[in-house]
Amino acid sequence: MSEIIRFNSVTKKFGKVVAVNSVDLSIKSGEIHSVIGENGAGKTTLMHLLYGMYKPDSGKIFVRAKEVNFSSPKDAIKDEIGMVHQNFMLIDDFTVYENVVLGAEPHHFISFDREKAKRTVAKLAKEYKMEIDVNEIVGSLSVGLQQKVEILKLLYRNASILIFDEPTAVLTPQESETLFNTLRKFKAFGKTVIFISHKLKEVKEISDRVSVMRNGKLLDTFKNENLSEIDLAKMIAGREIQNPAAVSSKKGETILKINDLTIIGDKGIPAVKGLSLDVSRGEIVGIAGVVGNGQSELEEALVGMRKIANGKIEFKGVDIGKMSVRKRREFGIGYIPEDRIRTGLAPIASVLENVIMGHQNEREFSARLDFMKRKRARYFANQLVNEYRIVCKSVDEQVGTLSGGNMQKVVIAREFAHDVDLLIVSQPTRGVDVGGIEFIHKKILDMKKSGKAVLLISSDLDEILLLSDRIVVMYEGQIVHSTSTKDADLQKIGLAMLGMRS
């Protein structure tokens, strides 16, 4: 196999941060090449350099032995390079084929030749065995299918080098498997695939060769068969990673009882339909499911940010269905929301102001006459920064300027510092690097050990399996599958997530 892409000591800096540090990398034509590393290791930046979204500060990039100097993704496309981003760029109201051809429509003189567009797109999909109806409206498709539309867009533009940026982050196990089959198909057709991920299992499953990045540097490239998952993990983190084997602890009394709960979603239709669930002290109950099946509405309703239409939420034997957020917090509920930027933080406020939220009424920080003990608050913030190893210049720094992992630590530090009995933890490690994930998982297990009840909501099935004592699967607002982790059957869980009963 011949070399198709070469990075020659490429460097890219953002301010004082060296995102990509003199990277040499060679990618062969027709291989599936994974780039793996922690969040912030520089994988995505490296690919953005290839895709023309940034220009390197120094170094050269060669495509097909020719030096390139892309100034935008348009140039990259001309050289048959395409990228599937984490966030899709699709128009929801358009059909599949309209989205695919947008910007490069086939035409009869000046009119849009729809029939030809449909034919071409359908033919492409068939060629690569992607099952998709080209007349479907994109907004009504599942995430997995929307991703296929993104891929078709690239194929339609004749891309022969395809870059995938963490493509499985949003997919179910079955959908991931389908994607992998598509990738293998690409390889069979002689296309080159660059696969960015921090999921070891996937990388192991799909790649021919693997390049490991850490702190902006490319450590080395290996043949896949010469590596084990453990080797990879060690290299990525630069140290041994310990999987927190689920600590068993004594299950205590039932503390949260959800009974026949119905919640109306933003679209005016029920998002949660007659859901019942119990959580006890000293246990972690994991809610698995594809994003958008009522998990968001459920967590908001539990903490009082959303009204319930029907049913009962009982906490410590008291009906809390109508209690205010503040009362529920004071009564012992902590909450790590799924979206830290929109809900869990005020990004333009300081670390100090962010960690005090929810604590501001406690005697420690408030005195008579509405006085707020700001010195005490500063001390407290510094304590949390140390304990949770939050990387920031000072507690006066804006939270929004921190990395995703550190932002999440601010949220977790704040919520875990409350003396609570129940923690609702949603997507705790989304966008957090491997080292951070380990730390956060350990903290969650510590909470359980100290006898608190934890309701864990995550779209990352591995995380659910790793931490939970019991697993339930949510699909279209209902619990469709329920099991103890010991007896969990991955196949069944995966099917339940897709709404198929076995």
């Binding site: 800096k13 953002f14 301010g15 004082k16 941060v17 903490v303 940010m305 205010s324 957020v325 503040r326 529920r328 917090r329 004071e330 909450y335 929301p337 929109r342 809900t343 869990g344 933080l345 005020a346 990004p347 333009i348 406020a349 102001e353 005090i356 939220m357 929810g358 501001q360 009424n361 408030s366 006459l369 509405d370 006085f371 707020m372 700001r374 006066d396 804006q398």
Partner: protein, 345 residues
């Protein structure tokens, strides 16, 4: 560089630049800028009487500036300070001309309470409608301005028209309701002590109290505040009412302290000046105190400059508006530089 320090620097540099600009304009009158500004400062602070006059000018601007600062700080946009000021001033004056023979202490207390109540009420209405029905408070408060101003004009041309001349004004209010002038030569009156108490309370509320913190978070991310257990609806109304009360206080002091009657033109845009000052210092109450003092010094001294040097006092407005422009440009520039520094290092 920290945000706060940066903002301070931008304001100071902008003010200096506009003084330089003003200097050139002074030179057009064949006067040295140093001489011109000397006369201005002397005119504002050169004697006890001049200082009194300057302080008297400062009070309504400071109070309306803080009124705006506190509502904007909380993320609810009270553009209606002018209307709240007018309505409170008129209602207080209406009481003052209608009732007599009430002991002074009681009458003063009643006047202050009424001014606060009317201002607060006229702000509560849009606040309530915003929270309850999600009506845009900016549009509402602008409309309520017109209603209040035209209503008071209507009243001073009708039922409350003065019998003591031909101004658009009410009669002079009962003496029992007067805050007396401290010196016969200036408008500064004992009402200033009420203003000082109010300003102290607002500074405490915004900088030291829990509510100040919660309000700031409400502006920066309302959803985050709900999540943190802040009752956003109640707090929005509260911030709005306090804002209205401050505007009402300004109006009430103009009637009970400065003019002892209600005039149609009682506030020549005090609240708009206050709004600009508040925005210039990013709603910082200490900043509002400093800038409203400087503004008062300039307008007060501008008068003397016109008298002695023949330079029109419009110069002061030019300097003021120019510094607003420089501040705006300064923030835009600073953001651009900061972005570039992030990119390039």
């Amino acid at each position: 560089m920290s945000e706060k320090y940066r903002g301070f620097l931008i304001v100071v540099i902008s003010f200096f630049l506009s003084l330089v600009l003003g200097g050139f304009l002074i030179m057009l009158y064949k006067v040295s800028p140093i001489e011109g500004y000397k006369v201005m400062i002397f005119g504002a602070l050169g004697s006890r009487y001049m200082i009194y006059s300057t302080l008297a000018r400062m009070v309504p601007i400071l109070l309306t500036g803080l009124a705006i600062a506190i509502s904007f700080h909380a993320g609810i946009w009270n553009i209606g300070a002018q209307g709240q000021l007018y309505l409170a001033a008129f209602v207080v004056a209406a009481m003052g001309v209608s009732f007599h023979d009430i002991p002074t202490a009681i009458y003063l207390t009643l006047g202050v309470a009424l001014g606060l109540a009317i201002g607060g009420l006229w702000a509560w209405l849009p606040g309530y409608l915003r929270v309850k029905y999600n009506v845009n408070e900016v549009v509402l408060t602008i409309m309520l301005n017109s209603i209040a101003i035209y209503f008071t004009t209507y009243m001073t041309n009708g039922p409350f028209r003065t019998s003591q001349g031909s101004l658009g004004a009410t009669n002079v209010i009962d003496k029992g309701m007067w805050f007396n002038h401290i010196s016969p030569l200036s408008n500064l009156n004992t009402g200033v002590f009420v203003a000082i108490v109010a300003v102290a309370l607002i500074v405490y509320l915004m900088l030291f109290a829990k509510h100040g913190y919660e309000w700031k978070m409400m502006r920066l991310n309302p959803r985050f505040s709900v999540y943190g257990g802040v009752s956003v609806k109640q707090n929005m109304i509260l911030a709005m009412v306090i804002s209205g009360m401050l505007a009402g206080l300004a109006g009430m002091l103009l009637v009970m302290g400065d003019y002892h009657r209600f005039l149609n033109g009682i506030s020549p845009g005090y609240s708009w000046t206050g709004m600009i000052l508040a925005m210039m210092v990013n709603y910082d109450p200490i900043g509002v105190i400093i800038t409203s003092f400087i503004y008062a010094v300039m307008t007060s001294g501008g008068l003397r400059m016109e008298l002695i040097l023949g330079i029109p006092q419009e110069l002061v407005q030019i300097i003021f508006v120019a510094s607003v422009m420089f501040v705006t440009a300064g923030y835009a520039l600073a953001n651009k530089v900061a972005n570039r520094m992030q990119e390039e290092g």
